[in-house]
Amino acid sequence: MAEVLRPQMMGARVSRVEDPRLLSGQARFLDDIQVPGMLEVAFVRSPHAAAKIVAIDADAARRLPGVYAVITHQECPIVLWNQESYKVGQPALADGDVAYVGQPVVAVIAENRYIAEDAAELVRVEYQTLTPVWDMRDAIHEKPRRVHEQAENVFFQKSRQTPGFDEAFAAAPHHLKASFRTNRQTAVTMEPRGTAAMLDAASGRLTVYASTQSPHRMREDICTLLDIPEHLVRVIVPEVGGGFGMKATCYPEDVVVAHAAVKYRKPVKWISDRLESLESDVHARDDIHDVEVAFDDDGKIIAIKDHLMADGGAYPAYPWSGAEGETGLAARVLTGPYDIPYLATEIDCTYSNKTPLGAYRGVWGPIASFIQEGLVDRVARHLKLDPADVRRRNMIRKEQFPYRNAARMIYDEGSYLESMEEALKLIGYEDFRHRQAQLRQQGRYVGVGISVFVEPTAMASSEAGEVGYESCTIRIEPSGRVTAALGLGPSGQGHETTMAQILSDQLGVPLEDIVVLHGDTDSAPYGGGTGGSRSGPIGGGAALVAGRQMREKLIKYAAHLLEASEDDIELGDGKAWVTGVPDRSLTIRTIAQTAYLDVSKIPEGMPIGLEVTGRYLPKRPVTFSNGTHIAEVEVDVHTGVVKVTRYAVANDCGRVINPTIVEGQIHGGVAQGIGAAVLEALRYDEDGQLVTTSLLDYLLPESTDVPRIQVQHIETPSDGEGGIKGMAEGSLIAAPAAVACAISDALAPFGGMVDTLPVTPEMVLKMVQNS
């Protein structure tokens, strides 16, 4: 058992060890990797949504001084993800046809990016255009045509129904129908994607610098696709400027860069520009849900029926289809925190001539919460009940845990009702209704939206991959300082700090004596990486397991060297001592020196040195975080502009490692949620052209768009290691629904309810005018 130490670093508001290098401009991101002779790549991308490639003429490009090579599918015949189930895989460079705007067709490799771009403009590609498939409902019915001749458009289908659904649904006294639409969005990391690859001259091994969330997964992908054995590939993840699920994918450009480095025996780099990001980073959230809800006179929801549809884009993202991920999990957690006994879901995921759909923070959740909370509010409005009361009536109660939902997901214990009551208090709900009525009389429309969420975290499989465990290696150096390594791929979450906090408690050494390495497959033990809110609970669990193993070693050493019983040894402040006799002590440094340099004194049976690798595989396939977000908005019914004015969060992610970091994650997710609710949409025109190709068209929340967010923590520990639950996605799962519900509430006098995200000013004006 983990012993409690003083002072506890776990749970403390520790400043991050990552910060000084990031604040002083010393951190090294992907584009900061520069070696002599490095070549740079520019891609020629498809300008068409759908076309046959008739001819490619790259002669002029090849002749341009400074151009090293121009390659097409012929020179790089690699196809991503050719699994049976999907029947299609994306060629790293287009092979005979193109299926979305922005698809890589030709790679130009030159002395620098400027020359590569010049040469890319000289490449002539002759296309014969085809009718684009861009409407989801049409595509599901194979209209206007198949995206890929060899495959039906619908590539993933699944139906599931709680036994007894039909009878229960039919017997209910009330029914409502609604269609919910979430438009395409994408992560927009501030650091665009990028890859650099080079052969190590001495060993011949391939080093790939990748801006990715899963170092080992990326290594596996590169090895598989390039047919190189794993021990000859090293993946290094430098500082990553945001991931949000989008950087969990292995992209065509990654493969082309690695291929070129091997083929030409030259260091090669590609950095995405923002236009490329918006058209080629995986998109997300392109979903339609046709829903029916059945409920009784008191607002108790009895059954939900949902036809879930998602537009997966032209190809399944490698190695994880976002469309399947979004719908598959949404269908299982659609009832959220509510005790709704019957659920029937039917999923259709279709190909289209759009960018592949992948992961974006929250994946299934922002869509499912939007529906789940939208339904509760519709029920409340239909029955003229208070939305908070309807939630109270439907909420899963404490005594029901572990709770099995209508799709057979098991929820571990949470604080569902408690979180809502806390959030209602934070926002001042009682007083709000009074204020709302007064303001309405002045022609001002304010509303609150309540979003109670569940967040399945630390799942056995996610966009980060299928590795359900994480590993942590700890090496105490001869100096007594600690080097730890994990296979995580942080992109701003502060793992170097949080993992060190956990280790500091276990090893009894100060935080500053610990360095946490990650993101290098040569130093890190095999692991799943970062995604699906797994790094805290599973990575942290591995740190706890390894930390405990090392702690036992230190105690054995101390007992032996101090001639005391192991039971009497305590660790802390870089020392070991005998309980109650603080003078009988030695430093961790002395123990380490013994282990490495004075080996005759090593306790019998113990190996030389101080090194362990601990692994942690949670017993449960998932642990659920939960909480409640409440947004207050003011809607200008003359301009259609929505302003989020106040925001409250009660959040329960089990035992908190660092409250400040948790709050930072919540704030960021709320901001992204406000973007999802009122700003962000990737728009295609009828020719299948992406028309939102800059950050002036795809709008991100700015500092004046996000209000102050009040956060209250509740801690319901998981029964996994450390009681930790994941928490990175909950805020973005809950926030879009909170804002959408608030807009519906503000516009209640006009009768309509929000059914599409994002809510644009045009939509608001329409809701006002339609009344």
Partner: protein
Amino acid sequence: MADERVEVVLRVNGRDHRLEVSPRWTLSDVLRHQVGLTGTHVGCEQGVCGACTVLLDGEPVRSCLIFGVQAEGHNVTTVEGITPESGLSPLQEAFRKHHALQCGYCTPGMLLTAQALLDREPNPSEETIREALTGNLCRCTGYQFIVDAVMAARGQGRGA
């Protein structure tokens, strides 16, 4: 056309650099790849995100929207230039204390915009701070802790 070079002298963080640059290279590229100051980050090359913000004679500019040659005769300040020889500036310290950064990619631009504001107006209101930061996008923090950090750094000068 492409690779004609001209000689410029750029004054960056108080030091003169004699450089051979192509007239079409942006200031951000020149700073990063010729001067070797990679603290300036490029986020959009469209002048929207603000990640590449540097100070030109004390005023925040998008270094992706001006050419390196245009900076000749001006004082350029990058994040490296507001960092003391040892430790951090009061503003940087406040960013750390208030957890005003996560991935850190937008941070250098954010610091320079905020520093220019504080240089100009030592005691700005929260509203003024939010207004000043609208040109710097952050995808991680939701801005609240950044605003808190700038508020905490009010009246402390640049330090060092």
